[in-house]
Symmetry: C2
Subunit: 577 residues, 2 copies
């Protein structure tokens, strides 16, 4: 069963399987989505127009028994940043696609009559485009439930909520997880691109799909075992994340003074204990929820969870540090139940929860609701789902809120909200925010690892020295990892345990009968970044887009009382590789 590209044209409402061009044969995930977008999408096109394309690609290891290999990359020109976007998510869709030997799904064009929405139904060697009228306006949990009942309990689902239908620039794409709950291609507004193509959902039924074979199964098995061992041995991926989830970071960042509080005014939050990973675990255990949960089959880190209410009823999962930081410290809401409700609403209406958190922080700055107002916050999120004028201001991102209300404390880079680590206090991540092709994105080059967690060595987070090189190395490595389909958290063991990278390379070589080396992996990462950077430059980006907002250079961040002091020249060194 040879791998294929599935191309769906929404102008003609047709789909076809195509052979994989040789240039794309050896790449997957982010490397592939970015290569396709760079080749086929005019960089200056309207992100919500018919010339943009929405691309999904599982990673190179998707569908194999490798641990952590179920991430799916989604790519397009972003309506939020105006540049190229890759956003990756867990859930079941990557493995479903891999089972059907679909290397990439490209959705292009747009219906001339834009009054209808459609579903794309994929099965073994077949694709159907059907009207999705009855699901229009429906929220994601319901859409997933309805489609799973209609098609098959295990069918993979990609869907947009009302926010994506309304083409708001912070709309995400939801991915069904193994329990029928929600993971998200969160960042960069790809849900709006899907909405502009009038695609409400994609289903992937992998019945009778066998995927592509592993060339050397024995070698693969050995490498996969070594890889899993390294993950479980490392204190972050083997202990911290499984025990507390990503929310282990609240107390860590608060201690470091890098937990952005009250829309990035200070670096410590009085209520940090009430929203910490430790407290969250206690609550979940006491109420009978699940403190550990994997977002895809084969996940051994299990950083997800089922957060439940006092009656033990499910509220949300994939309840991440960045969301909890964002509504907690950033919006001064020290109540986990409220934040869990916010997360639930955002997943359901289909909006990125990081952007959502930054949006509400800026809305509080503008005085729309007070800092700390939990019920007011939930009401604002509902407004987004309902598409009221205020909802549209909010749903188009933090920059949109700042513009609507004429305020300047707006933490965004390239139009995308800055996540959960203050760049004045964790300077390595500041370089990543500034330079990433993706807009402000902590996952693009997670310097927090080395600045704060002392993974891969230590570089003082409070000083400028070494941060550009750190961010560059991490961004290169991340671009490569995002191409394998592995969860980014494998970077923790990879940075500290030499066997990890060797095992990843061995798995790739065993699967595809290749002779890749570590240098090839670095070269791949560099090539991905350069492809993305070239797209952005052709779209009209310049060095001036690689800058943090003015206020970081002016207002010191307590308790360290530092400002952002990286010079333009230092930042621009980033691209010298």
């Amino acid at each position: 069963m040879a791998e294929k590209i599935l191309r769906v044209n929404m102008t003609t409402l047709t789909g076809a399987f195509e052979d994989v061009p040789s240039e794309w044969a050896g790449i997957g995930g982010r490397a592939l989505t970015s290569a396709i977008v760079a080749k086929e999408v005019p960089p200056t096109c309207d992100a919500l127009g018919k010339h943009n394309k929405l691309v999904f690609a599982p990673g190179l290891l998707a569908g194999t028994p490798a641990a952590q290999s179920g991430r799916l990359s989604a790519g397009a020109k972003s309506p939020l940043t105006g540049g190229i976007k890759e956003s990756n998510a867990g859930g079941t869709a990557a493995q479903n696609l891999a089972k059907l030997a679909i290397k990439a799904l490209i959705i292009e064009g747009a219906p001339v009559d834009d009054s209808k929405f459609y579903g794309i139904q994929i099965a073994k060697d077949s694709v159907k485009i059907v009207e999705a009228t009855e699901l229009v306006g429906k929220r994601n949990y319901e859409v997933i439930k309805t489609l799973s009942a209609q098609i098959a309990p295990k069918v993979g689902v990609l869907t947009i909520g009302p926010v994506g239908e309304m083409r708001m620039a912070a709309a995400n794409i939801s991915v069904k997880d193994p329990d029928g709950n929600i993971r998200s291609h969160g960042r960069g507004g790809l849900g709006a691109v899907m909405g502009s193509k009038k695609v409400k959902y994609v289903t992937i039924d992998d019945t009778n799909g066998t995927g592509t074979p592993i060339a050397d199964p024995e070698k693969f098995k050995g490498a996969a075992r070594a890889f899993a061992k390294a993950i479980l041995e490392h204190p972050v991926s083997g202990e911290g994340l499984p025990t507390y989830g990503t929310n282990v970071l609240v107390n860590v960042l608060n201690e470091a003074g890098g937990l952005p509080t009250k829309n990035f005014r200070t670096g410590q939050f009085e209520g940090h204990d009430k929203i910490s990973g430790e407290t969250m675990r206690e609550i979940i255990v006491k109420r009978g929820g699940k403190p550990k949960h994997g977002c895809h089959a084969g996940c051994i880190i299990q950083c997800s969870q089922h957060y439940v209410d006092e009656k033990g009823e499910y509220i949300t999962s994939g309840f991440e540090y960045e969301t909890i930081w964002g509504f907690g410290a950033n919006c001064c809401i020290d109540d986990l139940d409220t934040i869990a409700r916010a997360d639930r609403i955002m997943d359901d209406i289909g909006i990125d929860s990081i952007e959502g958190a930054v949006i509400i922080g800026v809305a509080m700055e503008a005085g729309i609701v007070e800092f700390g107002d939990g019920p007011g916050t939930l009401k604002l999120l509902e407004e987004i789902g309902n598409g009221s004028p205020l909802g549209r201001i909010l749903g188009n991102g933090a920059a949109s809120v700042g513009k609507a209300y004429g305020i300047t404390r707006v933490p965004v880079v390239k139009g995308q909200g800055i996540p959960a680590y203050d760049p004045r206090t964790v300077k390595g991540i500041g370089v990543t925010y500034a330079t990433s092709t993706q807009g402000a994105d902590h996952t693009a080059g997670y310097a927090v690892a080395t600045n704060i967690l002392k993974v891969g060595g230590f570089i003082d987070p409070l000083k400028n020295e070494g941060q550009v090189e750190l961010s560059r190395n991490l961004q290169i490595a991340t671009a490569a990892i995002d191409s394998t389909g592995l969860c980014l958290f494998v970077a923790f063991p990879a940075l500290d345990i030499p066997e990890t990278l060797a095992a990843i390379i061995d798995m790739l070589n065993a699967k595809y009968n290749l002779t890749l080396t570590g240098d090839d992996v670095i070269a791949l990462g560099k090539s991905v970044l350069k492809t993305e950077h070239a797209f952005n430059n052709a779209a009209g980006f310049t060095k001036q887009d690689d800058r943090l907002p003015e206020f970081f250079s002016e207002d010191p961040c307590a308790p360290h009382n530092l400002t952002w002091t990286m010079s333009d020249e230092e930042i621009d060194e980033f691209w010298n590789f």
Copy 2:
């Protein structure tokens, strides 16, 4: 009485008169505002932050008896376009400033406590910054009336309405005209910059001001006479504009098929007769309004008017073609009274009427109100003044509306709404829209003159040939004219009657004891454009910003059924000078 720069610091709430640096001695108007902004404002700064500066400068001939010499330039980094902005207006302020020998007013900084608004009260050799509490939230007609009563009937007033106070990116700055009515620095959101500095108004009391002397009064007198003669001799400035105002253009552009209709769908409007200059004159005469009126003392073209209601009560003045086109053809409202009410509301709340028209067109595209809905339109304008969430979406410009509602038929360049001439049918003005440092702006290089009115020769509006050169020559000449403080309409005689330019140069030489030639004037125009272009590039603009929206290249415009076909390479030739 030597000329001075008046610098007001809104951080310290102090003002001081400074000597004019030699580099600025020989320039005025737009040349001066752009030179000051380029020198003193960091190009990448937040346009609504404390590092931006708002600069007002009368032209070189302001305060002299030269006809048409009362235009005031306002400059800053624009919150609408993100680039440099010069917006010029009539009214009395330029002449008031010139009488006080104030060559430029620079407003910089911003109060740390942003809860208050202030007034800047200028008189002979003095400046006071006073709290303006009682005027906060008040609309422009009332502000002008109140201040004129408080200070002096003839005091000059610059003011912002609630839209500027709320820092919306389409906010304008109002200028009191000789009758106490309103002219506007309309484009580019300079009212939001004034609002961000917490300046509600500036008054200029020129009592005992004598201005600076004319070096050779006899020579000046002769030149001024020749200049006035040329203006009155030319059919456009001597007959068309005085008789019908700028609205003479509705029927002309409709006939040419270049009157953008229904948010730039076609080039002809069924109801053109009902909104034409001919009909408007009839209505005004019948109702006892004023069909002719000058926006400043010394205006002999008198293209303004007092438009009155059926009882003869004043509704609005400075009722321009672009506004009437915008609410008429563009929004399909074929009722002049409704459009006049819209103009009145916009002047009063303080929003650019061209941007306002494009905003409502895009709002109709989004389905917020139906095309042709006059009462609905007036309600939307009131929402802007009231600062409701919908009002803020609208008040931040057409691009903001397009983004909020996820639509792609959004006629803007560099974020600024495209005015009243379809670029597919009047290709010379399309080049101006694309390349102007100001964002889409017909006044920056009015190719309509040569494409449609056959002034300065004729270049076929439907073909690409010659348009770049035409636009370039006009943009250079305009930058020079905008620096003299002369009304742009002197370009009509200047293009056809050789004595016009000679007379302008003679007036400048006579006033300042100079020996300028025509080449010097061209060199000045080029230098202004290059200064502005360099600022924009440093702010992060690239060639990709010199492009029209995608839909102009895709959707043909009836009746000529042409698309925009100028290649990127052709457009980029513009800056080769």
